[in-house]
Amino acid sequence: MGGWAIAVHGGAGVDPNLPKERQEEAKQLLTRCLNLGISALRSSLPAIHVVELVVRELESDPLFNSGRGSALTEKGTVEMEASIMDGPGRRCGAVSGVTTVKNPISLARLVMEKSPHSYLAFSGAEEFAKQQGVEMVDNDYFITEDNVGMLKLAKEANSILFDYRIPIIGSDSCSAAVENPIQMNGLPISIYAPETVGCVVVDGQGRCAAATSTGGLMNKKLGRIGDSPLIGAGTYACDLCGVSCTGEGEAIIRGTLARDVAAVMEYKGLGLQEAVDFVIDKRLDGGKAGLIAVSGTGEVAYGFNSVGMFRGCATQDGFMEVGIWE
């Protein structure tokens, strides 16, 4: 048994011109979240508690795209989603279309623990939240001035109507790539809000857990569901590993990215880092994404093919790293 390990992320796809002070803020938040998780692990809290705790912290801080600070829909509202999975027994819970629940990840946990279902959405999820007495706030609480500005830019770019996945037939894709600025999910990287936050943990007893939360894609259609609440896509945990993904949601869904890390470990016998490299390399099919992962034996790994990913990780033997770029 290799001891505990933890990794957090604040989304993949970062503007290379992001001001230095914003980069510093992001690193400080990631460090704070790691430390929060580390002290919980030192107090022997189970992995499932730790991932929820850390993601709550990321949701409550307005810096990343989840909870307060969520990206806005085309109507300027916030629709959040989240999922959580416990490796032992592969229990899971997920929510989508949440508009007034302060911490969607905790509602996902309650769906797992207190409902006969594993996924509740929209008014039904809000209703369940009221029933469970979780903290509710006005939708405005989640909306930051920064994001109102970003939505305006996104609408001007109008890029959400453009399907970034369909290649223009007959055009030379190489030269097109040179001419186009860096894009992420159809948006110029400068106005792209990295889509997700997440945390994966293996505790001292080898139990893995994963949690992912998001406001989704800036300027998304009402009702759009991304990869974050989908078990096997954005989030997955079993006895072998815990995985949380971020990036272009649609590419992650079609690649069943989180499950595939576990599947290649299970069915192909790969190690954790090999498995992470394999799915980033082979399963994204041109999509841009990243992920963090821990194994039941206490390893930690991450991988991404986007420009940057906000992430941090630590293990019991004292290793700690926080970074944005490759």
Partner: protein, 326 residues
């Protein structure tokens, strides 16, 4: 190599004591849909079109839990969901929380073809449906008197919500019980198809489960759980949604073929016997080379299949198939 098609009308606790007229009705529907699918494949329609066509037909049939005939939520309303996936391009589309769209599967197809997203739900999905001009009907179209009675039974026993596959207990099984037709809780319809060039597609649609909480999402719209297709195989799953999500049933059939080199039959059998808990799941699957597998670990599964070399099967319980006569 050759074409193949398989379809299902749900897996669950289907009692062998089911009255013969009820049984014949459903067998006739399966046979009709199979015939329709075979004709479409022979007419060189793409597997994606065929899967959509057959699921539409199953949705329109009131004897299966999808479209007309969908089971009711705890509020007595209908909330339908569906997903579709093209193995060739790995493109996919999904919808949840539909209340007025006549054919949920066709809206899923439009999400795939006409939006940059994969998954739209609830009001956003309904708004998209209007925009696209798909046929909508009053919610009452979907609600059958039988399903009103089923909800009443479910509410009275209050156990159904936890495990909808359990029939309401009858002290003496030989006694006729009003509305105890046995297949009342069976959810989901689906179709998978492959043409003689090895192009694959899968489609699944459902009304969910009786007495479900408003907003509950099951496995059906979740890519990798209820539906999956790639260049190896196409899979549509049915049963207890929460168990299927956890076991990523549809993706795992493909993953076992891809990463472990299993045949379609071995992979499908492994997933149903080893990954999904007993009495929770069934699936239909076809491989690129035209094989078919239809395993289930429930009492029965309404199912039918046909292959190019002339094999056909229409059945409900294990080892009990009637002649397809396609």
């Amino acid at each position: 190599m050759g074409w193949a098609i398989a379809l299902h009308g749900g897996a669950g606790d289907i009692p062998r004591s089911m009255p013969s007229e009820r049984r014949e009705l459903r067998e006739a529907a399966l046979r009709h849909c199979l015939h329709m699918g075979v004709e479409a494949i022979k007419a060189n329609r793409s597997p994606l079109d065929v899967a959509e066509l057959i699921v539409r037909e199953l949705e329109d049939n009131p004897h299966f839990n999808a479209g007309k005939g969908s089971v009711l939520t705890s509020n007595g309303t209908v909330e339908m969901e569906a997903s579709i996936m093209d193995g060739n391009t790995m493109k996919c589309g999904a919808v949840s929380g539909l209340t007025t769209v006549k054919n949920a599967i066709s809206l899923a197809r439009l999400v795939m073809d006409k939006t940059p997203h994969i998954y739209l739900a609830f009001n956003g999905a309904e708004a998209f449906a209007k925009q696209q001009g798909v046929e909508t009907v009053d919610s009452s179209h979907f609600i059958t008197p039988e399903n009103i009675e089923r909800l009443k039974q479910a509410k009275e026993t209050n156990t159904v919500q936890i495990d909808y596959t359990q029939r309401v207990e009858v002290k003496d099984a030989s006694l006729p019980v009003p509305n105890e037709d046995g297949d009342s809780q069976i959810g989901t319809v689906g179709c998978v198809a492959v043409d003689s060039h090895g192009n694959l597609a899968a489609a699944t649609s459902t009304g969910g489960l009786v007495n479900k909480m408003v907003g509950r999402i099951g496995d059906t719209p979740v890519i990798g759980a209820g539906t999956y297709a790639n260049s190896y195989c196409a899979v549509s799953a049915t049963g207890k949604g929460e168990a299927i999500i956890r076991a990523t049933v549809a993706r795992d059939v493909a993953a076992l073929m891809e990463f472990k080199g299993l045949s379609l039959e071995e992979a499908a059998k492994h997933v149903i016997e080893e990954r999904a808990p007993k009495f929770t799941a069934g699936l239909v699957a076809v491989s690129a080379s035209g094989e078919v597998a239809m395993p289930f670990n429930t009492t029965g599964m309404f199912r039918a299949c046909a292959t190019e070399d002339g094999y056909t099967e229409v059945g409900i319980w294990p080892n009990e198939t009637c002649d397809g006569e396609v």
